[in-house]
């Protein structure tokens, strides 16, 4: 009896060993998996369209002597933004150099669908012309991609500014965290 039992176990073991050793025991390999993944980096890009030219103060507010110089505005440029971080972003504007004394350069950016415009914002101190620090022009920006939003520049001057030859102002826009 004991001999038979030993023979049975030996035979079964040999059979199973033969089956597995022959490489046909394929239960674990009739399925195969493959990992697929993607990483989206944080994106915060801004651009503006062509440069603005031709801002000029050439008359007074009513076109008559005795009145203050009339502002001049330009709405020919647009801006675009792509942001994918949900924590909120803002756009700041920074004038690259001082303006002539007694002049003021202001800018207003139309808001994207997920942001809020700060309205018309002065980029320099009017009396001295010195540029102010980077100033918010749009805030509360949530994930969005949008282009064609209007940028309006306004040039203002006091009579104390005198006659100013054509000059260039460089404005840098930056997407920043709130």
């Amino acid at each position: 009896m004991r001999t038979n039992t030993t023979m049975k176990l030996t035979t079964l073991t040999a059979a199973i060993g033969l089956a597995m050793g022959s490489g046909v025991y394929a239960v674990d390999t009739f399925e195969a998996g493959q990992d697929v993944g993607y990483q989206v980096d944080e994106i915060a890009l801004i651009s503006v369209s062509a440069d603005v030219t031709g801002l000029a103060i050439t008359t007074t507010v009513d076109g008559l002597a005795g009145a203050a110089p009339a502002d001049d505005s330009d709405t020919s440029s647009t801006w675009a933004i792509t942001v994918n971080k949900a924590a909120g972003k803002k756009v700041t504007a920074l004038l690259g150099a001082a303006m002539p004394a007694h002049t003021l350069l202001s800018v207003e950016l139309a808001a994207p669908s997920t942001g809020a415009s700060k309205g018309k914002v002065g980029l320099n101190t009017r009396d001295t012309g010195v540029a102010v620090a980077a100033i918010d022009v749009v805030d509360s920006i949530e994930p969005v991609y949008q282009n064609g939003m209007q940028v309006e520049y306004t040039l203002s001057a006091d009579v104390e500014a005198g006659v100013i030859t054509a000059t260039t102002a460089h404005v840098t826009y930056t997407v920043a965290d709130l």
Binding site: N4, M7, K8, T11, L12, A14, A15, I16, L18, A19, S22, G23, V24, Y25, A26, V27, T29, F30, E31, A32, G33, Q34, D35, V36, G37, Y38, Q39, V40, D41, E42, I43, L45, I46, S47, A80, I81, T82, V83, N84, K85, A86, P143, V144, Y145, Q146, N147, G148
Partner: protein, 152 residues
């Protein structure tokens, strides 16, 4: 008794042999998406679709004993964002004597769907993958899943 045990062993062997076709996959796909993947810079969304290389993955079917087989494919494990779909297609025929199907992109779900069929052993069937619906409006970070190939 000994004879009966051999019959049991042989039967076991035949049963195992009947489900012996196996499939193996070489390769994965991980894509990093950033500002250079915007359609046209600031103000635009991410380009879509995003495709892998044409031979991103290779599938091998073996132990078929010359029998016909079909591979089904499905997504398993973690989900992708709701608006994102993953599709696969066959881009090569490998060393197969007979291979059909899979030439058009098939969007993957959580249920297996017939992908390619063949006859006999088959090496290095080229596979390409495609992501659609990845958008700037989805939060940045990593998303991943598993593509499961099953041979029947």
């Amino acid at each position: 008794m000994r004879g009966r045990l051999f019959i049991v062993a042989a039967t076991l062997l035949l049963m195992l042999d009947a489900q012996a076709a196996s499939v193996s996959v070489m390769g994965n796909w991980f894509e990093t998406i950033g500002p250079t993947d915007l359609v046209a810079g600031a103000g635009t969304d991410l380009r879509s679709p995003i495709e892998s290389g044409p031979y991103q993955v290779c599938i091998t079917v073996s132990n078929t004993d010359g029998a016909p087989w079909t591979i089904t494919v499905q997504r398993a494990g973690a989900d992708l964002p709701a608006d994102v779909t993953l599709a696969v297609r066959r881009t090569g025929s490998g060393s197969c004597s007979s291979l059909t199907g899979g030439l058009d992109y098939q969007t993957l779900g959580d249920q297996g769907q017939a992908f390619v069929s063949g006859l006999g052993d088959c090496n290095e069937i080229g596979i390409q993958m495609r992501l659609e619906g990845v958008s700037i409006l989805q939060p940045p970070g990593f998303n991943g899943t598993t593509v499961l190939y099953t041979v029947q």
